[in-house]
C-alpha cells in the first residue's frame, strides 16, 4: 500500500475518493470503505430491483382469485417459487445488509473522524463473500428453484425436490459477510473514534449501527448452524428436524427464529438511526433525549433475543413458552415507543423543512407506528391464533420493513447523496417519488390488514372470490410503489449525470461527515478532527 504523498494528494482541491485512483481494477481491489459502500449500493439496488420484480409477479398473480392467472406459466408451484424468491432476495440480499453495508460502511468511519474502518481488507472480503452468497442463492434460479418460502420450514424443506441445499448455502455465505461487517463496525466504534469523541458524543446513527452489529455477531451464527443442519438433513438424513427420524420440526423453528427475529431488528435499527439524523437535521434542533435513544437502541438489541417464540404461537410450542414470549414481546415495543416520542419531541418547536429526506422520515414515523402497533396485536397469543399465517401478518411486516426500513433507506439515499457524489439529487423528482411510494404503499398494504382480519391465508395461490376486490386494490397499489421507486431511481441517475454541484454541507447538519468536503477525500478528513461538542448542537 502506498503510504507516501498524502500531503500532495489532499492538497489538490478536487481530489476525492472518487478520483483518487482511476480504473475498474482500482475499484474492485479497493480497501477504501467509501468505495466499498458504493459497490454495495450498486449490488443492493440491483437485487432490490429483482426482488421488486418478484413482488410485482406475486401481486400480479393474486389479482385473480382463481387458477387463471395473468400469465399461464404461473402454476401453484411457480407461485410458491415467486414468493420464496421475493422473500429470500429482499431479506438476505437487500434489507439485512442494506443500510449497514451502504450507509454504515460509508459513514461510520467519517462520523467517528476515522480514516477507515478497523479492518479495511476484511471489509472488501465481506463484500466479495456477500456477492458469492448471492451468486450461490441466485444459481438456484437456474437449477431446481426454491419453493419453501424464505423461512425454510421443516419438514417440507427436507422433502421438497427444489434446490434447498444451494439456497441455504447461499444464505449461510451471506450470513458470513454479515458477521464480518458487524465485527468490523464494533471494533471501529470502540477503537477508532477521533480525539475527544466519547461514546456520548457519537451520532445516533453510529449508536444504531453499533447495536445492529452486536446483534449480527450474536444471532447470525445460530442461523449458520441451522442452515448447515438443513443441508445435513437433506444429504445425510441426520434426523434432527424430521419427525420420521425422531426429530422435532419445532426445534428448527426455535433455532431459525433465534436468528430471524433479531434479524428484523438488524433491519430496523439502522433505519431508526437514519431517521434520528434526518429529523434533527431537518428540524434544525438538538435531538430530544439523546441518551434515551442511544440506550433504547441497545435495549432493543438485547430484548430482541428474548422474543423469537412469537413466530411460533400456533406451531406446537408449549403454552408456557407462548405466554413467556408473548409478555416479553410486548416489552420490546417500549424502547421503540420511547424513540418515536423523542423524534416527535425533536420536531416540536423546531424549524422544520420538508425536503425529500424529511418527507421520507415523516413517512417512516407514520408507517412504522402502524406497523409497530399491529405487531403488539400479533404479540398477544389470543389474537395471534386468528392472525397467524394470514395477510394481517404480511401487512404488519411490510409496514415495518417497507414503510419503515425502505422509507428510511430512500430518505438516507437522498440525504447523503450530495455527500457520496458531490452533486444534489433532484428534490422535485424525489418528492414525486415519495408521493407515489407513500400512497402506493398504503394502497397496497392497508387492504391486507382487512384481508387478514377477514381470514385470507398467506402464501396461497388461489383464494375465495370474496377476497378478490381488496386483492385487486392491493395489486394496483404495488404498481404505484414500483413507479415511485422508479422515479427515485431516475432522480438518482439524473443527479449523477446532471445534478448541481453540492457544497460540503448543503443541509446545514452538524455531524462530522458534513464537516469534510463532498465527496470526501480519500482519507476522509484533511486533518484528523478533534471533537469538542455533541453531534446535534444546533443552537
Amino acid at each position: 500500500m502506498s503510504n507516501v504523498t498524502h500531503a500532495t494528494h489532499t492538497a489538490t482541491e478536487n481530489d476525492n475518493y472518487l478520483n483518487h485512483e482511476k480504473g475498474i481494477w482500482s475499484w474492485l481491489s479497493t480497501v477504501d470503505h467509501k468505495r466499498i459502500a458504493i459497490m454495495y449500493m450498486v449490488s443492493i439496488l440491483t437485487f432490490f430491483l429483482i426482488g421488486g420484480i418478484f413482488a410485482l409477479l406475486v401481486r400480479g398473480a393474486l389479482f385473480n382469485s382463481g387458477e387463471n392467472k395473468f400469465w399461464s406459466y404461473i402454476t401453484p408451484d411457480v407461485y410458491n417459487q415467486f414468493m420464496s424468491y421475493h422473500g429470500i432476495i429482499m431479506v438476505f440480499m437487500v434489507i439485512v445488509p442494506g443500510i449497514p453495508a451502504i450507509f454504515g460502511n460509508f459513514l461510520l468511519p467519517v462520523m467517528l473522524g476515522a480514516k477507515d474502518v478497523a479492518f479495511p481488507r476484511l471489509n472488501l472480503a465481506s463484500y466479495y463473500i456477500y456477492l458469492l452468497g448471492a451468486a450461490i442463492a441466485a444459481s438456484t434460479l437456474f437449477l431446481g428453484k426454491i419453493d419453501t418460502g424464505w423461512t425454510f420450514y421443516t419438514p417440507y424443506s427436507i422433502k421438497t425436490s427444489t434446490s434447498v441445499v444451494l439456497a441455504v448455502l447461499g444464505a449461510f455465505t451471506m450470513g458470513m459477510a454479515s458477521i464480518l461487517t458487524g465485527l468490523n463496525f464494533i471494533v471501529t466504534t470502540h477503537k477508532l473514534r477521533a480525539p475527544g469523541q466519547t461514546m456520548n458524543k457519537i451520532p445516533l446513527f453510529v449508536w444504531a449501527i453499533y447495536a445492529t452489529s452486536i446483534i449480527q455477531i450474536l444471532a447470525t451464527p445460530v442461523l449458520g448452524i441451522t442452515l448447515l443442519l438443513i443441508g445435513a438433513e437433506r444429504t445425510l438424513g441426520v434426523g434432527i428436524f424430521d419427525p420420521n427420524l425422531g426429530g422435532d420440526p419445532v426445534l428448527f423453528q426455535h433455532f431459525f427464529w433465534f436468528y430471524s427475529h433479531p434479524a428484523v431488528y438488524i433491519m430496523i435499527l439502522p433505519a431508526m438511526g437514519i431517521v434520528s439524523e434526518l429529523i434533527s437535521t431537518f428540524s434544525r434542533k438538538t435531538i430530544f433525549g439523546y441518551t434515551a435513544i442511544a440506550y433504547s437502541s441497545l435495549a432493543i438489541a438485547a430484548v430482541s433475543f428474548l422474543v423469537w417464540g412469537h413466530h411460533m404461537f400456533v406451531s406446537g410450542q408449549s403454552e408456557f413458552a407462548g405466554i413467556l414470549f408473548s409478555v416479553i414481546t410486548m416489552l420490546v415495543g417500549v424502547p421503540t415507543a420511547i424513540k418515536l416520542f423523542n423524534w416527535i419531541s425533536t420536531m416540536y418547536r423546531g424549524s422544520v423543512r420538508l425536503d425529500t429526506p424529511m418527507l421520507y422520515a415523516i413517512g417512516f414515523l407514520f408507517l412504522f407506528t402502524i406497523g409497530g402497533l399491529t405487531g403488539v396485536w400479533l404479540a398477544s397469543t389470543g389474537m395471534d391464533v386468528h392472525f397467524h399465517d394470514t395477510y394481517f401478518v404480511v401487512a404488519h411486516f411490510h409496514y415495518v420493513m417497507v414503510g419503515g426500513v425502505l422509507m428510511a433507506f430512500t430518505g438516507g439515499i437522498f440525504f447523503w447523496f450530495p455527500k457520496f457524489f458531490g452533486k444534489m439529487a433532484s428534490d422535485t423528482l424525489g418528492r414525486i417519488s415519495w408521493v407515489f411510494v407513500f400512497t402506493g404503499f398504503n394502497v397496497t398494504f392497508f387492504p391486507q390488514f382487512i384481508l387478514g382480519a377477514m381470514g385470507m391465508p398467506r402464501r396461497y395461490f388461489e383464494y375465495h372470490p370474496a377476497y378478490e376486490p381488496l386483492n385487486q386494490i392491493s395489486t394496483v397499489g404495488s404498481w404505484l410503489i414500483g413507479f415511485g421507486f422508479l422515479v427515485a431511481l431516475v432522480a438518482i441517475i439524473h443527479g449523477l449525470l446532471a445534478g448541481e454541484k453540492a457544497g460540503a454541507n448543503p443541509w446545514g447538519s452538524k455531524t462530522l461527515e458534513w464537516q469534510t468536503s463532498s465527496p470526501p477525500p480519500h482519507d476522509n478528513f484533511p486533518i484528523t478532527p478533534t471533537v469538542t461538542a455533541g453531534p446535534y448542537e444546533y443552537r
Partner: protein, 242 residues
C-alpha cells in the same frame, strides 16, 4: 500487507491506526468477536444435542457405548498438548526467537494431524459397521440394543417419548447423526486451524514477526484454543456421559 517490516527491522502500523499497539488491540478485539460467533455456532449444536439427549436418553446411552473412550481420551490429550505448543509458538515469537517458534508451531500442526488420523480410524470403523447418519444407517444390532435397554427400564421411568419401542428403534440412528455432524464440523475446524498455523509458521520462517508484531500468530492461536475448547466440551458429552 498492512504491516511492513522496513530494512532496519522495525514495523510500521497501518495508517488508520495511531500506533502498533492500537492496531494490536483492535485486531485482538476483532478475533475475540469472531470467537463469539464460533461459540454460538457450535453452541446451537450442543443445545440440540442436550435437548434430544434428555428426551431420548436410552438412545444416547447405548449410542455412546459404541464410541471408543480410549481414542477419545488420546485425542483430548493430543489437542490439549497442541494448545500448549501453540502457546509456546506465540511465546517464542514474543521473545524474538523464530527458530523455537517454528518448532513449537510445527509440533502443533503434527498434533492436529494426529487428531485427524485418530478421527479417521474412528470414522472408518463406524462406517464399516454401518453406524452412520439416518439415510445410510445399517446396524440393526444397535437398534436392538436400544430396544433391550428400554424394555429393561423400570416402568415409572418410561416417559411418553419412550413408550413406542418400535419407533425408538427406527429413530435410533439420530445418535450417529449428531455424532458425525458435531465431530465432523469440529474436525473441519481442526483442518482449517492446521492450515492457518501452517500459514503463520511460514511467515515466522520468513522472519516476518518479532516482539513488536506477532498479531497473526496470536490471532491464529486464539482460534486454535477455541477449537480445543470445543473439544473439551464435546469429549465428555459424546463419549462419557451417555
Amino acid at each position: 500487507m498492512s504491516i511492513v517490516k522496513t530494512e532496519d527491522g522495525h514495523f510500521h502500523h497501518a495508517h488508520h491506526f495511531n500506533s502498533l499497539n492500537h492496531q494490536y488491540d483492535s485486531a485482538k478485539q476483532g478475533v475475540w468477536l469472531f470467537m463469539v460467533t464460533e461459540i454460538l455456532m457450535f453452541g446451537g449444536l450442543f443445545v440440540a444435542y442436550l435437548i434430544y439427549k434428555s428426551i431420548y436418553a436410552p438412545i444416547f446411552h447405548v449410542g455412546s457405548s459404541y464410541l471408543d473412550v480410549k481414542m477419545g481420551s488420546i485425542n483430548t490429550i493430543v489437542l490439549i498438548s497442541s494448545s500448549f505448543t501453540m502457546a509456546l509458538g506465540i511465546y517464542y515469537n514474543q521473545k524474538n526467537k523464530p527458530k523455537q517458534a517454528i518448532i513449537a508451531l510445527v509440533l502443533t500442526i503434527l498434533c492436529a494431524l494426529t487428531f485427524m488420523v485418530i478421527k479417521y480410524f474412528e470414522y472408518s470403523h463406524k462406517i464399516h459397521l454401518g453406524l452412520v447418519p439416518g439415510k445410510y444407517f445399517s446396524n440393526p444390532e444397535f437398534q436392538q440394543k436400544v430396544a433391550d435397554f428400554v424394555n429393561a427400564m423400570p416402568i415409572e421411568n418410561i416417559t411418553p417419548a419412550l413408550s413406542d419401542v418400535e419407533h425408538l428403534k427406527k429413530i435410533a440412528p439420530l445418535y450417529f447423526g449428531f455424532y458425525f455432524v458435531m465431530t465432523g464440523l469440529h474436525g473441519f475446524h481442526v483442518i482449517i486451524g492446521a492450515c492457518l498455523i501452517a500459514w503463520v509458521t511460514i511467515k515466522t520462517a520468513n522472519n516476518q514477526f518479532g516482539a513488536e508484531y506477532y498479531t497473526p500468530v496470536e490471532g491464529v492461536g486464539l482460534f486454535w484454543h477455541i477449537v480445543d475448547l470445543i473439544w473439551i466440551y464435546l469429549f465428555p458429552l459424546l463419549y462419557l456421559v451417555g
